[in-house]
């Protein structure tokens, strides 16, 4: 049993988004966090102090631990933001405002160019 079977979900066709440059399957209606969890990804932020990985913690938009960059827009709460086809999702470094050149050039920078 998986959650989709449990709830008898019959979502529309899946679509592709990218996470740090690699394609990830997404279901319509899911949040960015749900899509990443389903793909086995549990962290998408690196803290601005110690550079530690973070992902979902509270899951309801209160803790801001799941901040992520989506389509070049930093500090989006992955647990709240629904995915749309073609979304470019990138691991967020620090403040998300691209300070120290530590961006690895995958999600974030591509997204900026795509804007």
């Amino acid at each position: 049993m998986n959650p989709l079977e449990l709830a008898g979900a019959r979502p529309g066709p899946s679509f592709t988004v990218t996470f740090d440059g690699r394609p990830v399957e997404a279901l319509p209606g899911q949040t960015v966090a749900a899509v990443l969890w389903a793909a086995g990804v549990t962290s998408w932020r690196s803290t601005r102090g110690e550079g530690r990985p973070r992902g979902v913690f509270c899951g309801i938009g209160v803790c801001f631990d799941c901040l992520v960059t989506v389509n070049g827009r930093p500090n989006q709460r992955a647990c709240l933001v629904p995915v749309r086809p073609g979304d470019v999702i990138g691991t967020q470094d620090g403040t998300g405002h691209g300070e120290t050149g530590t961006q690895d050039g995958t999600g974030h920078e591509e997204a900026r160019h795509a804007d």
């Binding site: 601005r48 500090n75 620090g94 403040t95 405002h97 691209g98 300070e99 120290t100």
Partner: protein
Amino acid sequence: MNESLTCDVVVVGAGVVGAATALYAARAGLDTVVVDRGPVAGGTTGAGEGNLLVSDKEPGPELELALLSARLWAALAREGLGEAVEYETKGGVVVAGTDRALAGLEKLAAEQRAAGVEAVPVPPDRLPDLEPYLAPGLAGGMHYPQDAQVMPALAAAHLLRASKARVLTGREVTGILRGPGGAVRGVRTGRGDLHAPAVVNAAGTWGGEVAARAGVSLPVLPRRGFVLVTEPLPPRIRHKVYAADYVADVASDSAALQTSPVVEGTPAGPVLIGASRERVGFDRSLSLPAVRALAAGATGLFPFLAGVRAMRTYAGFRPYLPDHLPAIGPDPRAPGLFHACGHEGAGIGLATGTGQLIAQVLTGRTPDLDLGPFRPDRFTEEAA
């Protein structure tokens, strides 16, 4: 726990002014006790931005005190306190939006230079070198390299620690002890008397209440200010940046809401946005008009801030006296009582100079500055 003790001087108030007073008093050899009804930095210090400014002061006694204080802050930083209190010699940039405002700014700067302030004119095309994210189209500005910053709560805590004074927090002064002839003999607290021949009123916005407990009047009143704090950002705003009309607001006597944008980055990342001024008593509740005006002013100076999120806002109360100068020095109406309060929005910056002057008069030395303009009883005559 009932704790009575005897010492040379009791400092009432564990904010930055009390802390600096304790430091210089202890260094002058006085056995010093600091008492506060709340925690360290629990009042205006904890709500301050930590400005050590010379740029916003017109020539006169306050500017002299600011220059003395700036030298003392720099000396403390050199002694090794700099990192602990996040001392930053970031400098100030004052900008003018119109030629008229620029002319006013240049006139003020010329007078300040004569008083010993460094003020470097910045033509409009050079402003981006100092502040790349400033709005275009400004008429010009002035760079004040002497403006600096500390983290106020840490400053109070570390000055207290460096003073090695005994610090009694959570203990309210309920009365001032007076001896024969009215001389001050210490303070009464909820948990015992603190005996000392000298008491320093460094209670900031609440300095009027402490004075009243000694039977003297000191018309300290609160002037509310809000600060907006943004999400953490990479260093983008390098100086303390404000508009030329800020100086006029500081000196204004109006009770109504005044806002002029004062914008600066912090080492921790968030940008701080001040400064509103209103006289509304001790009302701490949120005023959306005030914070909206702050946001409008800040985004006017730095357009990129429009897309940046404000995470919080908080209010503090600046302690002001009718002539906008602090009360520093002995109170002839109550021998043994000294005042060190009423610094309005400049208490962090002026704390070191104030503490030094008080320590000097406590030990019978000639103070570095003439205390005449700061006389605590200067308002009595007016009232009479």
